[in-house]
């Protein structure tokens, strides 16, 4: 009897442990989950999905980075609400995770081949790794239906081996935001249009005790917003693009020269020395508080500056040309990167692809109206209410001739991080331009 009791107790323990494990797994999620509007049901298989009817509901899941604090949250909520109203036959469950954690989460999901039907991703190399692993569904057929409203030029960062694997939503560029009140104190009533004028303006600002630029050293991508703009306006967009694409080597004298120009600006006290220990949010807050005259960063900041009531006080422009024999105005850093993609393992891949296009279009629509970036999709709605900064960005992009995607997005993860490592050394003035290019040539395989 004792043996039987012991055996039973052991079995109960084992069963209870399995039960706890499941329960704990569901509780440890750090994501913000948005409940579905209808009761979840078992997802139909691939053949069922293609012949789905209104009485045959389809379950779709979607992951993204639009958490409660994300400036795009409203755009996601509004777009998904529209989608669910238009498609009662689809149960869409979506959840948002913080940017950095999301990168880990989606990579783990791809590794385990347990991805959601639709997922947020960045274009170019980030998505490229997943495409190479065969985990992403090609959206060629669905794109053909939307080609008239989503220009092909916007699809460049989701195209691999001639096939499209994602739907872009918004696009952004690096802009030079200028505090006109501080410029006025230094005797300028306009944003410097040439490089020489910018240097003269910075000298005047320093003489007045105003710090020209703020840049976070704690987040190296923020340094690249400066450095890449300076390299582009020194070496030219085509040269930089070829380097990022791996078609040309970093051993480029113009790149070394551009690094020298950037470091000269640091040496001349154009940059806040405290920036090295600050996060980008802290630097941005300092700019909003009027500590810096200029802030070079993504144009997604336009919405926040507008919300802070700075639209009248701030202007946005592109960084001036440094070497006019190799670069010109209209060569920008940026492009469409925020993308929705569909998992190849999705049981309803075709429906998911159709849904991804519809949701992406809605996010683009509401995101543009909110001032979170420029639309990858051609607007077919009233855009007169958009804030003045975003309108200025739209003008800059309308006059652009070439865009180079951000280096850390354009290059593969390993290469991008080696590059970021060298960029941080440049910002701290540990290495010069020559050492920068030599180091990258040696370390990037």
């Amino acid at each position: 009897m004792k043996k039987v009791t012991a055996l039973l107790m052991t079995m109960v323990m084992l069963v209870s442990l399995v039960g706890c494990g499941k329960s704990d797994a569901s509780k440890t999620s750090t994501t913000t989950e948005t409940p579905t509007t209808s009761e979840a049901t078992k997802a139909p298989d691939a053949t069922e999905a293609s012949t789905a009817t209104a009485s045959d509901p389809i379950d779709l899941t979607m992951w993204c980075i639009a958490t409660e604090s994300d400036s795009n949250r409203h755009a996601y909520e509004a777009s998904i609400a529209d989608f669910q109203a238009a498609h009662p036959e689809i149960n869409l469950t979506w959840e948002a995770t913080q940017n950095q954690e999301y990168k880990t989460k989606i990579k783990a999901a791809v590794a385990a081949n347990e991805m959601p039907d639709i997922f947020f991703t960045w274009g170019c190399a980030f998505l490229g790794d997943f495409v190479d692993a065969g985990r992403v569904y090609s959206v060629d057929d669905v794109y053909a239906k939307h080609a008239s409203e989503l220009p092909e030029v916007m699809m460049g960062n989701v195209k691999y081996d001639g096939k499209y694997y994602g739907v872009p939503m918004t696009m952004n560029i690096v802009g030079m935001f200028s505090n006109m009140e501080l410029l006025k104190e230094a005797g300028y009533d306009h944003v410097p249009a040439t490089y020489d004028e910018l240097i003269a303006c910075c000298d005047a600002l320093v003489a007045k005790g105003i710090i020209p630029f703020g840049c976070s050293g704690k987040e190296t991508w923020a340094v690249t917003e400066y450095l890449e703009s300076i390299i582009e306006k020194t070496a030219g967009a085509s040269a930089l693009n070829e380097i990022f694409a791996g078609n040309a080597t970093w051993a480029n004298d113009d790149v070394a020269k551009a690094v020298g120009i950037f470091q000269e600006m640091i040496e001349k006290n154009y940059f806040d020395p405290e920036g090295i220990a600050l996060s980008n949010d802290e630097v941005k807050a300092n700019f909003i508080a009027g500590k810096y005259a200029f802030y070079m960063n993504g144009t997604w900041n336009a919405a926040d500056f507008d919300k802070a009531g700075l639209s009248d006080k701030i202007q946005v422009a592109e960084f001036p040309v440094i070497d006019s024999s190799k670069s010109k105005l209209g060569e920008l850093i940026g492009g469409p990167s925020d993308t929705l993609a569909v998992a190849a393992s999705s049981k309803n891949a075709e429906v998911a692809a159709e849904s991804a296009f519809e949701i992406a279009k809605g996010i683009c629509h509401y995101g543009y109206l909110d001032g979170n970036g420029l639309p990858a999709w051609t607007p077919d709605y009233d855009t007169s209410g958009i804030n003045s900064l975003t309108k200025s960005v739209a003008d800059i992009v309308a006059n652009s001739s070439q865009m180079v995607l951000y280096g850390d997005t354009a290059m593969s993860a390993d290469t991008a991080n080696i590059y970021l490592d060298y960029v941080s050394q440049v910002y701290a003035s540990v290495i010069d331009g020559k050492a920068f290019v030599e180091g990258l040539v040696n370390d990037i395989k």
């Binding site: 043996k3 012991a6 055996l7 052991t10 323990m13 084992l14 442990l17 990168k103 880990t104 990579k107 783990a108 791809v110 590794a111 790794d129 997943f130 190479d132 692993a133 985990r135 050293g217 704690k218 020395p273 405290e274 090295i276 220990a277 600050l278 593969s412 993860a413 390993d414 991080n417 080696i418 490592d421 941080s424 050394q425 701290a428 540990v430 180091g439 370390d443």
Partner: protein, 292 residues
């Protein structure tokens, strides 16, 4: 007893749940890390067998900087042993004598251990803020402007990061040692005092030898904890600026989730495990020799 041992099935079944958890959660990942360390793998693509290349690159590449990261964590381990533990021991000896307000002091010293590391990290970030941080504000108000600086700059970041790490766990080690001191029979102390021993002599010849097993455990925890240190460094500097505060754990996260180098990340993980085991054994041996 013999009957119990002969009932092997019952023993095995009772041990099995814990054993399965131990093997699946602890042992299997170690072996898997060892396996992955022989591959060039981005986590989801094709694995390419490269033998010991990851180990070779890790120990020789300047751009990865593993040796520097290891040096930082060994320095932290050293500081833990020569600063944190003596401080904890001093506090434990003081409180162990049964002073007034003993429980209150215990709670105060132990409080940092209970607070989330992320909260502590954010707190110290504010303390170190070059513009409005209390450290620079106090220095400036005392006329010591020349000492005010960017504390998380590459020259001072390592020391600035170590301070909160050491501070946070002083209370933890103090509590361990305090428990040990409280378990020393009062008769021993009284007998020594009657024989004319001063307080310092009582501590040295009675208390310390008595709590040696606890000192050993504290040393092992301090050293292995330093080698594995991650959370506070991640919040404060994320290993920067310019890898000045890099430790093997932050480097491992960087390799795994930023650079997509699962093979290299696994190599660092395995080396960390081996080092922790090795240090635990070495410390155990040192204390054993002294006991002998």
């Amino acid at each position: 007893m013999r009957k119990l041992y002969s009932n092997k099935l019952t023993i095995i079944l009772f041990i099995l749940p814990a054993l399965i958890l131990f093997l699946v959660i602890l042992v299997a990942p170690i072996f898997l890390s060892g396996y992955y360390s022989f591959f060039d793998w981005n986590g989801f693509g094709k694995k390419i067998f490269i033998g010991l290349e990851n180990y070779k690159e890790l120990l020789t590449s300047n751009s990865i900087g593993f040796i520097k990261a290891l040096g930082n964590s060994l320095l932290l381990a050293l500081l833990s042993v020569v600063v944190q533990l003596p401080l904890a021991l001093g506090l434990a000896l003081l409180l162990g004598k049964g002073r007034k307000g003993e429980r209150g002091f215990l709670s105060i010293y132990f409080m940092p251990v209970l607070i989330s590391t992320v909260v502590i990290g954010q707190l110290w970030l504010k303390i170190y803020n070059p513009s409005y941080g209390i450290l620079n504000v106090v220095l400036r108000s005392l006329g010591l402007d020349s000492l005010a600086r960017i504390w998380l700059d590459r020259k001072t970041a390592l020391g600035a990061t170590f301070v909160p790490i050491l501070w946070q766990y002083v209370g933890y080690h103090m509590l361990l040692m305090y428990a040990g001191i409280k378990s020393v029979p009062i008769e021993y102390r009284e007998a020594a005092m009657i024989d004319g021993a001063r307080e310092g002599q009582v501590n040295r010849y009675i208390i310390l030898p008595y709590i040696k097993p606890i000192l050993k455990i504290s040393t092992i925890f301090a050293v292995t904890g330093s080698l594995k240190s991650f959370d506070l460094i991640y919040v404060l500097t994320n290993g920067g600026p310019l890898h000045a505060t890099e430790v093997p754990s932050t480097l491992m996260i960087n390799m795994l989730f930023l650079r997509n180098r699962y093979g290299m990340g696994s190599t660092i993980a395995l080396l960390l495990i081996i080092m922790c085991f090795a240090f635990a054994l070495i410390i155990g041996r040192i204390f054993k020799d002294k006991e002998d």
